[in-house]
């Protein structure tokens, strides 16, 4: 005690000096240049980054460069023409990548769909963006604009059946059903009318026409795909949350999907960008492409920042069972075919 009293000043000074030293060290080592610290805690995505090669049954066989700065969405129409929307235009390409037409739109496209041969107006082009749908003839002449009068509308996807046009509104989490002339004939997912509620945390809310007059709807927040009749009756739902290859990862997936001619469903996930094929009833079948094949670095996986916005890959299918992947980074359509498909 006497020692403490005698050397109190020295001890206090020493304590202050040590504290100043630690404070200085802490400031310096706290990564003042804000580079990623080697000591930072991160999720280890290495186990999901590399896909088991045995599961990959597709290979890239072609690529079509797209003349758009901001590629947003894609669909395949009659004669397997490829329609890519972005900027303020829809560009039409043939299977060999030749640009066939450029259709100017008034708004920024968010989704595009083309009526197939079964549609009452084959080849008609529907371009959604914001709260309206621009409709074009196959030759690019404008038919009209359908406005969606509700508040907070974010049109995220369009699916065209024989006599119906379905439009997914991510803002209000409903699927709107129109007749080919733009008259609203129904709504799926409207809780006020006893419908099921879709869980849509982001602006990715995809729909597609399935076989036998069914409508597939992604319920991304629930990490599921659901199948409805055109009248809105739920028939099938499947999908499990998880990081393993057969499940859907993160907050909200699948972000995009398409239906193969045989009814199988091709899903595209964000967070862990990967494209997979499931049977119509949800059995996992194979992988089309994993993160590395899509050009996404391991450090980008799970990154919720703006960089992720360019790591969401729209998918479409053509009549030959090929899978088309819209790559917003390479600004191209990458064509995948089943390995050994021609031999089979």
């Amino acid at each position: 005690m006497r020692f403490l009293n005698q050397h109190r000043g020295t001890l206090v000074t020493a304590v202050i000096a040590v504290a100043v030293g630690i404070a200085s060290y802490a400031v310096v080592s706290s990564d003042p240049l804000a580079q990623r610290s080697r000591r930072s805690f991160t999720i280890d995505f290495s186990s999901v980054y590399d896909i088991d090669p045995g599961l990959i049954q597709f290979e890239q066989t072609g690529e079509i460069e797209v003349q758009l700065d901001d590629v947003r969405c894609m669909d395949v129409g009659p004669a397997d023409k490829i329609y890519v929307a972005g900027d303020q235009a829809v560009r039409v390409y043939s299977q060999d990548g030749t640009e066939l037409a450029v259709i100017r739109t008034e708004g920024q496209p968010g989704c595009v769909a083309v009526g197939g041969d079964e549609h009452v107006f084959p080849g008609r082009i529907y371009v959604g963006g914001g709260d309206r749908i621009e409709v074009f003839q196959p030759n690019g002449s404008r038919v009209g604009i359908w406005n969606v009068p509700e508040q907070n509308v974010i049109l995220a996807s369009i699916a065209v059946a024989g006599n119906d046009v379905f439009v997914a509104d991510a803002g209000n989490r409903v699927v709107l059903r129109y007749d080919p002339f733009g008259q609203r004939v129904g709504t799926i997912g409207d809780p006020d009318n006893g419908g099921r509620t879709f869980n849509v945390p982001s602006a990715h809310f995809d729909i597609a026409i399935g076989s036998e007059g069914r409508l597939h709807v992604a319920n991304p927040g629930a990490l599921r795909l659901e199948t409805y009749t055109f009248d809105g009756a739920l028939e099938v739902r499947w999908g499990e949350p998880g990081a393993t290859i057969d499940r859907f990862f993160g907050c909200c997936n699948p972000s995009e999907f398409a239906v193969l001619p045989g009814g199988e469903i091709v899903t595209s996930e964000k967070g862990i960008p990967r494209i997979k094929v499931y049977s119509e009833f949800g059995e996992f079948e194979c992988v089309v492409a994993g993160p590395s094949m899509l050009g996404v670095a391991q450090s980008e996986i799970g990154d919720p920042r703006a960089v992720q916005a360019e790591a969401i890959f729209d998918v479409a299918t053509d009549s030959r069972g090929r899978i088309l992947v819209l790559d917003p980074r390479r600004k191209s359509v990458r064509i995948f075919e089943r390995i050994g498909g021609d031999d089979a």
């Binding site: 202050i16 504290a19 995505f45 949350p241 393993t244």
Partner: protein, 461 residues
């Protein structure tokens, strides 16, 4: 009893700090193996969708209203009712509300950067709440002195409550360290203006405690500042706080300010002894003609040296353009990409990975980085000139002798905490706690010097 308690608190802090350091070291060593596994979410029940409530205008207005009321109360308690107890209660309340409840944001200290960015970038819209938080304490300081620092600022409050074993910092060190806050202010303004970053917020040592979480480094930094606060009164306020630097200047021009005794100063020196911030100056003695001549020579020298110092630091600032620009994310990215292009980089970074996928060309990135580097030549020069100006002004300020007949609070340095009230014998007489000032003085001590009549705002006669 009180002393033993304080010693125990101090000892506890030391133990906590050492424990924290050891824990931090262990965590730092092991963190590379402690990566989180990929979450499976398999058992996670998916909640039904809900739209979060949009925060209305009420909460920000409530914050501004509370700040205004707190400033009014602080000014009243400091200058009118002269109640150290109420000041202390308000300090605790402010710490709880602005610190732990509002988690230190929005605060006037950090708002400095928002305002700076809004001035330099017309496209940046600064919220009115932030402007109010920045302006209100400045206005109150112009009228009442640093009453914001006294008991409203949660950063100051935390240090105020820990200032239990304060030692006197040597004057030369106090003056020297005091310059750091002005340099920090200058750096914070140019970094905010160039969108390099809000360094005041990034290096706020108290946020880890207010938010009950931070990385190990910032916890260490905050713990160290708190430990130092036990022995050095308000180290952050005095030597680092950029907003405090502005308030120090404004406080010199305040219309009213704290006066130590309510009536007549008896020059007992108790206030100077108890002030943990070294902000009370003793009466001056009459100078000999020789010392007066020496003082004048010193002033002339300081006046002549000041422009040279400004120019010298301006040059130094321009020379530091490269390291300064490296704080900007764009410049860092360009350097990383350059290293990767040369094959020197050990690995890529998140930023460089993102850049590779962005479609921007490397040339565009280099051009942008070079442009920023040129900007920092000008800005570095301005920061250097500002630093030189602060140093030059300090030299001149120290060379000017001021006459004091009694103990006076330093206009810039006094944070209006009111501790001196508690010990002032004249105040005790006013409150009726003692009948004569001699009862409050240590045994055998008598008041020295002339008795001077004082009132709020300064000397009466």
């Amino acid at each position: 009893m009180n002393r033993i308690f304080r010693l125990r608190v101090a000892a506890l802090l030391v133990v906590a700090l050492v424990g924290g350091v050891l824990m931090g070291g262990v965590m730092a060593d092991e963190s590379s193996d402690l990566m989180f596994p990929v979450p499976e979410f398999s058992d996670h029940p998916i909640p039904t969708a809900s739209v979060p409530e949009v925060q209305g205008e009420v909460a920000p207005l409530l914050d501004v209203a509370i700040l205004f009321v707190a400033l009014c109360l602080a000014s009243y308690f400091t200058l009118v009712s002269r109640s150290r107890r109420n000041v202390l209660l308000l300090t605790i309340a402010s710490l709880l509300w602005f610190g732990f409840w509002r988690q230190g944001c929005v605060c006037p200290v950090g708002a400095t950067q928002n305002v700076a960015l809004a001035i330099f970038d017309p496209t940046y819209v600064v919220p009115l709440t932030v402007v109010a938080f920045f302006v209100l304490p400045l206005v109150f300081t112009l009228f009442f002195g640093r009453t914001f620092c006294a008991s409203v600022c949660p950063l100051g409050a935390m240090q105020e409550l820990l200032a239990v074993r304060s030692i006197r910092v040597p004057r030369w060190l106090d003056h020297s360290l005091g310059l750091v806050a002005y340099i920090y202010l200058g750096a914070a303004v140019i970094f905010a203006a160039t969108k390099t970053g809000f360094i005041i917020c990034r290096y706020d040592p108290f946020i880890p405690f207010f938010r009950l979480g931070a990385n190990t480094d910032m916890l260490l930094f905050g713990s160290s500042i708190l430990l130092i606060s036990v022995f050095v009164g308000r180290p952050y306020c005095r030597y680092l706080c950029p907003y405090g630097a502005i308030l120090r200047v404004l406080s010199c021009f305040s219309k009213w300010r704290l006066s130590i005794p309510p009536d007549t100063c008896i020059n007992c020196q108790l206030c100077e002894d108890v002030c943990p911030y070294g902000a009370i100056h003793p009466p001056t003695v009459t100078q000999s003609p020789e010392r007066r001549r020496k003082g004048k020579r010193r002033l002339v020298t300081a006046l002549m040296v000041a422009p040279v110092v400004v120019l010298g630091f301006w040059w130094l600032g321009t020379a530091l353009a490269v390291p300064l620009s490296q704080w900007h994310p764009e410049s860092r990215l360009a350097e990383q990409v350059r290293l990767e292009e040369l094959g020197v980089a050990a690995s890529t970074t998140e930023a460089s990975d993102a850049f590779r996928g962005s479609g921007r060309s490397v040339e565009q990135l280099y051009q942008s980085a070079l442009s920023r580097r040129n900007d920092f030549v000008t800005l570095g020069g301005l920061l250097g000139a500002w630093t030189g100006l602060v140093i030059g002004f300090k030299l001149i300020h120290l060379s000017v002798r001021r006459r004091r007949d009694d103990y006076q609070a330093d206009r810039a340095g006094c944070v209006s905490c009111g501790r001196c009230y508690w010990y002032c014998p004249v105040e005790k007489v006013r409150l009726g706690l003692i009948s004569d000032v001699s009862e409050a003085l240590p045994d055998g001590q008598l008041p020295t010097g002339p008795l001077v009549q004082l009132t709020v705002g300064g000397k009466k006669s």
